[in-house]
């Protein structure tokens, strides 16, 4: 079963060729060691940019490569399939959540200062929304920013921030106004700002090669020019990227499932038990068939919603459905992949063991499974 979305054409194929070449040469040989070391080298960012893969889906004006969501999903899938390291790709792509609010609501000056150097791989960006006290209820966030002359004085904490320990700046959600979503603003907080601390690099179930941090702001003085858009308009800037973010995560799930499936097919054809290969047992073949079917369904929904989003339709609930469908397919397929691999599937030396752990994140990050269902419920008005 080929890993292709229905919307893909020859230019996606060519893009996948480039992505595969990059990931095969630069990521795959190091996948296991980077995952075990819980870090990949910083030099991979400029290398990715040099291969023309960092800025896929971002405007050329600010150093991006042009293209649309479809190009982004195809390239990301191929890097994952050929690179074998989910942690590396999610670390490399924290800009997919950090930059869109700047591109959507930031000033030209902010785009030049913050978007361009990320596109060239020189700077690392992160998005800071979730707090130790809660992530799902974004409107209740507590990190405070008080205006003081030309600065905002920020105090509070963020947690589970992808690329947080290495980020040169964090697109940070803060409370500048009253309670609720109407009091939230987005501030770009740079690493060297006095009062900005990385308090912890967190240990995780999966996504090992990606660093995840707890950040602390202790009377951190942030220049007011780093405010994105008008004060108290941050919530809408955050929400405006939700469709793309969720489709991007859904596509990661599809890619992880596809990789787990491919590994399983190869293993089943090679491994023998009771005098024949595993693939000669009907039970195994049916298991693989079910895996293929679930992946095809998740891919079809993700692809359809992506096409609708590209055509300009409002697809908030559909994107939530795609994320949940892909999340479920991915977790199930990864679990079956471990089963087909037997004891080896439980060993850290196998790729599927890692994918099984990586898969667990997707029902939590980028909006939990339950929050997706809340969105669907509201839209369907049950």
């Amino acid at each position: 079963m080929r890993a292709r979305y229905y919307f893909e054409g020859e230019e996606h194929e060519e893009l996948r060729t480039q992505a595969r070449r990059f990931a095969t040469a630069q990521i795959a040989p190091n996948a296991t060691s980077w995952e075990e070391a819980e870090e990949f080298p910083r030099s991979l960012y400029p290398a990715l940019a040099n291969a023309g893969l960092m800025g896929v889906g971002y405007p050329e004006e600010f150093g991006g490569c042009g293209g649309d969501l479809g190009h982004t999903l195809a390239a990301a899938e191929e890097i994952l399939l050929a690179g074998h390291s989910v942690g590396t790709i999610v670390g490399l792509s924290s800009h997919a959540i950090a930059l869109p609010p700047i591109l959507a609501r930031g000033s030209e000056e902010q785009k030049r200062r913050f978007v361009s150097p990320v596109m060239s791989g020189e700077k690392i960006s992160a998005l800071g929304i979730t707090e130790p006290s809660g992530g799902s209820d974004v409107a209740a966030l507590q990190t405070k920013a008080v205006r003081d002359g030309d600065h905002y004085v920020v105090s509070g904490a963020k947690t589970f921030i992808t690329s947080g320990t290495r980020a040169d700046f964090v697109t940070t959600a803060v409370r500048t106004g009253g309670p609720g979503h109407g009091g939230i603003s987005l501030l770009i907080i740079e690493k060297d700002t006095p009062g900005f601390f990385v308090s912890k690099k967190l240990k995780k179930t999966g996504w090992w090669a990606s660093d995840t941090a707890e950040l602390r702001f202790d009377n951190c003085r942030v220049p007011a020019e780093n405010l994105i858009g008008p004060e108290n308009s941050g919530f809408f800037a955050i929400v405006s990227n939700f469709v793309h973010e969720r489709l991007y995560l859904a596509a990661q799930c599809v890619a992880i499932a596809q990789l787990a499936y491919q590994e399983s097919v190869a293993y089943a054809r090679n491994r023998s038990a009771f005098g024949k290969t595993l693939s000669r047992f009907q039970v195994t073949r049916h298991k693989l068939s079910d895996m293929a079917t679930k992946i095809a369904a998740a891919r079809a929904l993700t692809g359809e919603v992506a096409m609708r989003a590209m055509a300009g339709e409002a697809v908030i609930a559909q994107a939530a459905m795609a994320k949940n469908a892909a999340t479920d397919a991915c977790s199930w397929v990864a679990d079956q992949a471990v089963q087909i691999h037997g004891g080896y599937g439980y060993m850290r030396e196998s790729i599927v063991e890692r994918l099984y752990r990586d898969a667990r994140l997707y029902a939590i990050g980028g909006g939990t499974r339950e929050i997706m269902n809340e969105i669907i419920s509201k839209t369907e008005a049950f």
């Binding site: 020859e10 230019e11 194929e13 060519e14 893009l15 060729t17 480039q18 070449r21 990059f22 040099n50 291969a51 023309g52 893969l53 896929v56 050329e60 490569c65 042009g66 293209g67 190009h71």
Partner: protein, 272 residues
Amino acid sequence: MKILVPVKRVPDPELKANIKDGKLDLSGAQWVVNTFDEYAVEAALRLTENADEGSRDGEVVVVTIGPDDAAVQLRSCLAMGADRAIHVASEDANLDSLLVAKTLKAVYDEEKPDMVLLGKQAVDGDTNQVGQMLAALLNLPQATFAASIELADDGKACVVSREVDAGVEFKKLPLPAVVTVDLRIVSPTSITNGITPESHEYADGPRYASLKGIMKAKKKPMDNKTMADLGVSGSPVVKELEVTLPEARAAGQIVESVEELVKKLSEEAKAL
């Protein structure tokens, strides 16, 4: 400077070859640009640009002789940065090295490039003949297995280095000439064109096609021709009789000591 780069599509060399009834089964093949031809495209692009300023200074024309689908590989080369393409229609089975060389001669006569830059061989048939035959047909100077190319005498000549058993051999060729390239040609400082500052270091290997390049490639000119258009006819003189896989290698052995190794080499392998 105008450079003609012939390219061939080959089945992805990373994938396993399937053989059915004494023939290669290519029904499930994934096609890619022959590795050495990709290097030739990269070298041609380096020869015709100012890499520091990112500007073009010359023309690179890629040509392939192959079936309709081979347009995909031509577009890959255009996406890397080649300026235009020529697609001469033919089925692979109707070709051999000499026919390809004759067709390329006809293209050369129409295009009159300053240089023909080819891969040293295609990684499917590994014949390593087309460049040499083409030079002979054109009666042009040739240098094969180029590891580096330097333009000289105001672009009227080039100096090619080749890695040979005894060391590195340098050849100076008046242009036009036929040059075939080896893998070193894509190392960071293998090309000197008098335009890109000599201090410039390329990333190792052929460049990646950017998404912008990929989109632009669709709008670049591609001429479609037949061999008849070019006045080339004839059938292959080389006939493929049968394709077989090399015999599976016997398992290796681990020996305990040098003495045992020497004994085995002399008594069993009869190699000493």
